[in-house]
């Protein structure tokens, strides 16, 4: 990575503005130094809002947000990820939607003059997602 630690990412980061611990520059530096376990075990890794401001403004064209996404993916392979992703992943597999849409909402659509909501196809979804590693991570993660 061509990062020269100027800190544009951190100074422009909306999350860093309010967090005392989340510093994208630091995550990039630790990654350059190969501090794998420290990075992957860090809670702050999950604070990035994926707004891509850092990526668009980096003078060295480091895709900071994408590097953070790769690090998160690596952490997830070890089962280290917030619970919300298990809930959303499971919901997608079961219904197609990331959130379980309440029956009441689905019924209400008609009275609001909206067409019926397209249905998910769990069978097809399970087929196309067959064999991807994240499904094992979901299974292993306790509730």
């Amino acid at each position: 990575m061509r990062c020269f630690q100027c800190g544009t990412c951190t100074s422009d980061c909306p999350i860093a503005r309010f967090s005392d611990t989340y510093r994208p520059r630091q995550i990039i530096r630790m990654t350059q130094l190969g501090l794998r376990e420290r990075v992957l075990n860090s809670d702050t890794l999950w604070l990035c809002a994926s707004c891509f401001t850092c990526t668009d403004r980096c003078p060295q064209d480091v895709e900071v947000a994408s590097v953070i996404r790769v690090l998160r993916n690596l952490a997830a392979e070890q089962g280290l990820f917030p619970q919300v992703f298990k809930e959303q992943g499971t919901s997608i597999l079961e219904t197609g939607y990331a959130y379980k849409i309440p029956e009441l909402r689905i019924k209400k659509r008609e009275s609001l003059g909206l067409p019926p909501l397209p249905k998910g196809n769990p069978e097809s979804l399970n087929k196309v997602l067959h064999g991807i590693s994240f499904l094992k991570s979901i299974e292993k993660k306790s509730d």
């Binding site: 999350i15 503005r17 994926s50 992703f85 997608i92 939607y97 990331a98 196309v128």
Partner: protein, 296 residues
Amino acid sequence: MAEPKYLMFLGCAIPYRVSAYEISARKILGNLGVELVEMPEFNCCGLPMDPVSHEMMLILAARNLALADQKGLNIIALCPGCAGTLKKVGKMLKEDKTLREEINAHLKNAGLEFKGTVDAKHLMQVLIEDVGLEKIQKSVVKPLTMLKVAEHNGCHILRPKEFIGFDDPEDPKTLKTLIEATGATCLDYMDETECCGAPSVGVNDKIALQLARDKLNHIKMVDAQAMITICPFCHIMYDTNELRIEKMFNEAYGIPVLHYPQLLGLAMGIPPEELAFNELRVDVSKILKQFVEGEK
């Protein structure tokens, strides 16, 4: 020229809790002669899974694009997250043969194939590029000249520039132009392109709400009568959560948050009761009263 026709991609957040956006968007698109065909079946665009599995995101997005391929129709998405993801994955798969083959091997298990014949666009991009400003301006029969509002684009309609690239993320103009087409004044304010914080909800709610509060403060400073959004998640942050933010930080805003199609719908002369204003959390009666009085 044939009227534009799209596959309507709703995403997850809109049917879950942001009906007003869908209702008003369908109304204005109908008025502008845009034909909508419903998706034959649905799965999430994939974006929510990207942090934990890039692979899962790619397959989910590609599956939607493959369904659109079969229909032979471009996708319109109301959510910038969905539009951006489908656009980005479409571009990646078209340009990278190895990746395309890898993803198509997955799709093949369900008899599907990504061919790359269709495009995905956000509502705003369809409005400005396909419908055109002139047609929108002509559709305005009740200009909202009494309204001063503030726009909020949100991140994924603008960034990363490399994939989205139809507006300038540092100085976005499209939404402003579309707001001004309704006759309303669009005010400038501090940190206009700042993130709403929604993606951090569920990981750290306090930081997420602090971001939203900052925005509401900046909008209050310029005396905007309303905030205009084009993203279901941004809307949830400012409208659904406004009361929560007021309580948490001991603030008082009372700033209504309108979906852009609600604003345009009003200017088109669509009766307010058909634009789902009653679905909004923050009281909009002041604006609507002013609008009705302006008619007299």
